[in-house]
């Protein structure tokens, strides 16, 4: 590894905080369909179970990062199955990131146009947001990871303010108990629902070579999952104990909680929530847009062509987001159809790639004993 390869890297805590902020975008928005199906206790237990299941999803990451720390999953795919598999993997991720970006931006726009600026045009809301994203992507992963590390603490402070402000109205008896029938099925469904929302699991597979210590990627992943789980449990407990099932019927239960809470001279804390929401939406979209650009690099080597292609596709993403923002049914359909993707991209696909790599190594060792897996390792990030 040359000297330059050591630069432009982020630390494990920075990655953890970036992923946490990104993940919370979907955590703060508990789907109303979700709420009507499950009781409060089911939701809490489902969150716990989803944490345990997601830990298992880190296994392929652990294998790949320990053995091929210098390469992303796409790079490994190239080694395992040649250029076509590499491009196929990149295309798969590219499509998934496009869906995630459009989904996130449309959800964000839907929130802003329904709660903060009622009846405002989603185009007007999304234009400054999208321009901001394009500008920040240019500054690179390091810069927004550092910013995420700073905003993480501001986020926790704001979230703690809302929770502390809500404590006087909290009553644990408001949390509805488990139903007498089909409890386990409901808990399991709730857990799977949570996993389907966690796109950050497969982001890790493209980000771990950017870590200063890529071998510890799985550790970062574990701490990310734990932190998210703790945050979710705390917020869900507060929401359920203050608003009970009414909170579950809200489109934005966390917002509903923030708007009934007052702290010191501030009458309502919904603006705090709005700030948190914007911060999370920003980091999530920024992360996905960055990875989208990175995947694009697999197809186009030339810098100028890549930049032109990226900006052109970004315009398409923008219009896609505007379209989805005005058609919530399409978003729902998209979410349902891609629910299985995190499991496939974070668990099945990397495991297959790992097995292929191992087989190839074995074959190489049989053909020429001096060519070991070390020959396959590189610095393709």
């Amino acid at each position: 590894m040359n000297a330059n390869a050591r630069t432009h890297r982020i630390s494990a805590p920075q990655l953890l905080m970036l992923l946490f902020l990104s993940r919370l975008f979907s955590v703060l928005n508990i789907s109303p369909v979700f709420g009507t199906l499950y009781s409060g206790m089911t939701l809490l237990l489902g969150t716990l179970l989803s944490f345990c299941l997601q830990c298992a999803f880190l296994f392929p990451l652990w294998l790949l990062s320990r053995r091929y720390g210098g390469k992303t999953l796409i790079g490994c795919a190239g080694d395992a199955g040649g250029e076509w598999l590499k491009k196929g993997a990149a295309l798969l991720f590219l499509l998934m990131f496009s869906v995630q970006i459009c989904g996130s931006l449309s959800a964000f726009s839907f929130f802003m146009t329904s709660i903060v600026f009622p009846n405002a045009s989603s185009v007007l809301i999304l234009i400054p947001f999208f321009l901001t994203l394009i500008l920040c992507v240019r500054w690179g992963l390091e810069s927004f990871s550092r910013a995420a590390a700073i905003f993480f603490w501001l986020f926790l402070l704001s979230a703690a303010s809302i929770c502390i402000g809500a404590i006087p109205s909290a009553d644990l008896l408001n949390i509805t108990p488990l139903p007498t029938q089909g409890a386990f099925h409901n808990i399991f469904s709730a857990a799977l629902g949570e996993i389907s929302k966690n796109g950050e699991l497969y982001c890790l597979l493209l980000l771990y070579p950017s870590l200063r210590t890529p071998k510890k990627a799985a550790h970062s992943g574990f701490w990310f999952l734990l932190l998210t789980c703790v945050f979710m449990l705390v917020t869900q407990t507060v929401i359920l104990s203050v608003l009970s099932d009414f909170g579950m019927e809200q489109t934005y239960p966390y917002y509903a909680l923030a708007s009934v809470v007052d702290l010191s001279v501030l009458q309502r804390l919904d603006s705090f929530h709005m700030s948190l929401w914007i911060v999370c939406a920003f980091f999530r979209s920024l992360l996905y847009l960055f990875l989208f650009k990175k995947c694009l690099g697999t197809f186009v080597i030339k810098k100028k062509t890549r930049a032109v292609l990226f900006y052109s596709l970004a315009v398409f993403l923008f219009f896609g987001s505007v379209f989805l923002a005005d058609h919530p049914q399409a978003v729902r359909a998209l979410n349902t159809s891609t629910a299985i993707v995190p499991a496939l991209l974070a668990f099945v696909f990397p495991l297959v790639i790992f097995i292929l790599l191992k087989r190839k190594e074995k074959r190489n060792e049989t053909n020429s004993p001096q060519k070991t897996h070390g020959a396959l390792m590189g610095a393709d990030r």
């Binding site: 630069t7 432009h8 901001t132 500054w139 810069s143 910013a147 603006s271 920003f282």
Partner: protein, 528 residues
């Protein structure tokens, strides 16, 4: 044994040769003929009125003293140079070389004696206040440091006032500033590197650093940047700043400025490099971190708890000064539900009588404030005070009474203005950002403010100063450096280990004086 002694002698010889200015290939070498050299030199000076020559004869050998009027101490020159030379009885028909040997070996004519070999070097020496002696048939000239120009004496720095610190500030002549630094750090590892900058002005600049603390890559980068400067003149530190800065359009500084020798010493002790420029009392220091703007020398004179309290006040003031007007406009225009009812009614009552929307009102009043500040800044002091009084009366009283602006807005502007003076190094950034935040606050409310804050944060986080992210030690995080960031811990804790600036780039392991792979964030290709 013999080899080692021979090696040392060679090294000494090399060092001595390096100290002598060697003529460059494109320079005019001194011929040894006094008449010819004088013609060349007079042509170089274009017979300028302040170029003085005094031609004398020493035991029949023609010689000449060259100097610039007003830059040489004439009394010292006559006492230490002319009198001993003219009164000494040289043997009859002494050769020119004998006169030279006498000057070099048997007199202490000047502490600072340098041999120069080309007309260009003679020119530079004369311009620096040296007296140059040319002797016929000697192919080099002797330059004697006898500077005697008048300069401002060492006084209290006007731009960096301290309560309990030293009262000494830098002054204009470079050598005096160098001596002030040397007096404070009596260490052999303190090094000064002098070289000229500016094609026409040939301004002397001096790099100051601790050889055992500074990173070699930092020094190399700095020297490369300085040598790439092709300005004609360098008159103040501001001329060099853009060349040292990574991004010219950035709002926050990545090169710090100081007028105080004690501050400079503290910074170079942390592995930074300072640049003194002849003719200006402001030294530049690189790299510069964002958190440095909130530190002052008084923090280390007060007790730890008070210094920490002052630090927190500074950080709060910074955010108040850039965000308060924007948030006030955003909240009162888009999110009034955030405010307590009593406060909301008061604001509404005050704003009801004013003709402008609250955002426009904020913009106008801040613009007026900036005009008055600029007007008062460069005027003579008595007139400056008059401008302040008129401004305060017009804005503070008459405008409110006339119903042009609301009283809460006056309070906001006053609070913002005072808060912006708490962190003087960031004043420029604060003034500009305030307007941006008002604009986004009035057009998009808190959404705009948060969005703009995010862009600003990511931009600041992307910025590096000579490979060190300016947001260090917060991001990348360094626990040891945090002892003196938001809080200032006691000296018992601080003395354990002085953090080197090199350790804050998040990559280097902090070995001073060694090559490091600095975390330069300038190549966008590596980011994606």
């Amino acid at each position: 044994m013999f080899e080692s002694v021979k090696g040392r002698i060679d090294a000494l010889k090399t060092a001595m040769t390096e100290n002598k200015p060697q003529p460059q290939p494109n320079e005019h070498r001194l011929t040894g003929s006094l008449a010819d050299d004088m013609v060349t030199l007079r042509a170089m000076f274009s017979n300028s009125s302040d170029f003085l020559t005094r031609e004398i004869t020493i035991t029949g050998v023609p010689a000449a003293f060259l100097m610039i009027e007003g830059m040489v101490n004439l009394q010292t020159m006559s006492e230490m140079l002319l009198e001993p030379l003219l009164s000494h009885r040289f043997p009859a028909h002494a050769k020119p070389q004998d006169i030279c040997d006498y000057i070099e070996n048997r007199t202490i004519l000047a502490a600072d004696t340098i041999h120069v070999y080309s007309c260009e070097q003679v020119f530079r020496m004369i311009m620096s206040g040296f007296v140059v002696l040319l002797i016929d048939n000697i192919p080099y000239a002797c330059a004697y440091g006898m500077q005697g120009f008048s300069f401002r004496s060492v006084g209290e720095p006007s731009a960096e006032v301290n309560e309990l610190g030293s009262r000494e500030g830098f002054t204009e002549p470079l050598r005096i500033n160098m001596s002030m630094v040397r007096r404070r750090i009596k260490s052999p590892s303190l090094k000064f590197d002098l070289f000229p900058v500016g094609r026409v002005s040939q301004t002397d600049i001096c790099l100051i650093y601790m050889t055992d603390r500074v990173s070699k890559s930092l020094l190399r980068q700095l020297k490369r940047k300085l040598s790439s400067i092709s300005l004609d003149v360098v008159l103040t530190s501001g001329y060099l700043k853009p060349f040292l800065s990574g991004t010219p359009w950035s709002l926050f500084p990545d090169v710090s400025t100081t007028e105080r020798p004690d501050v400079l010493c503290a910074k170079i002790q942390e592995g930074r490099v300072a640049i003194l420029i002849d003719g200006t009392p402001f030294a530049l220091v690189v790299p510069c971190l964002f958190t440095e703007n909130f530190q002052s020398l008084d923090d280390y004179a007060h007790s730890a708890f008070y210094a920490s309290f002052v630090r927190i006040i500074k950080y709060v003031s910074f955010f108040v000064s850039i965000l308060l007007p924007g948030i006030y406009v955003a909240v009162s225009t888009f999110h009034p539900e955030l405010l307590p009812h009593a406060l909301l009614f008061n604001i509404a009552a005050a704003e009801e009588t004013t003709p402008f929307p609250i955002g426009i009102e904020a913009l106008i009043i801040h613009f007026l404030y900036e005009i008055m500040r600029e007007a008062g800044l460069r005027l003579p002091r008595p007139i400056g005070h008059a401008v302040s009084i008129v401004g305060a009366l017009v804005i503070g009283d008459a405008a409110v009474t006339a119903g042009l602006i609301g009283a809460p807005m006056v309070m906001i502007v006053a609070t913002t203005a005072i808060a912006s003076f708490v962190v003087p190094p960031l004043y420029e950034a604060i003034s500009v950002l305030r307007f941006f935040f008002i604009l986004v606050g009035m057009s998009m409310g808190l959404y705009g403010i948060i969005l703009f804050s995010l862009v600003l944060f990511v931009n600041v986080c992307a910025k590096t100063s000579f490979g060190i992210p300016i947001t260090a030690p917060v991001a990348p995080f360094s626990l040891s450096a945090m002892r003196d960031t938001f809080l200032r811990l006691s000296f018992r804790t601080l003395q354990k280990k002085t953090a080197s600036i090199e350790q804050l780039n998040g990559v280097a392991t902090g070995t001073s004086g060694k090559e490091d792979t600095s975390n330069t964030n300038t190549d966008p290709s590596n980011r994606s």
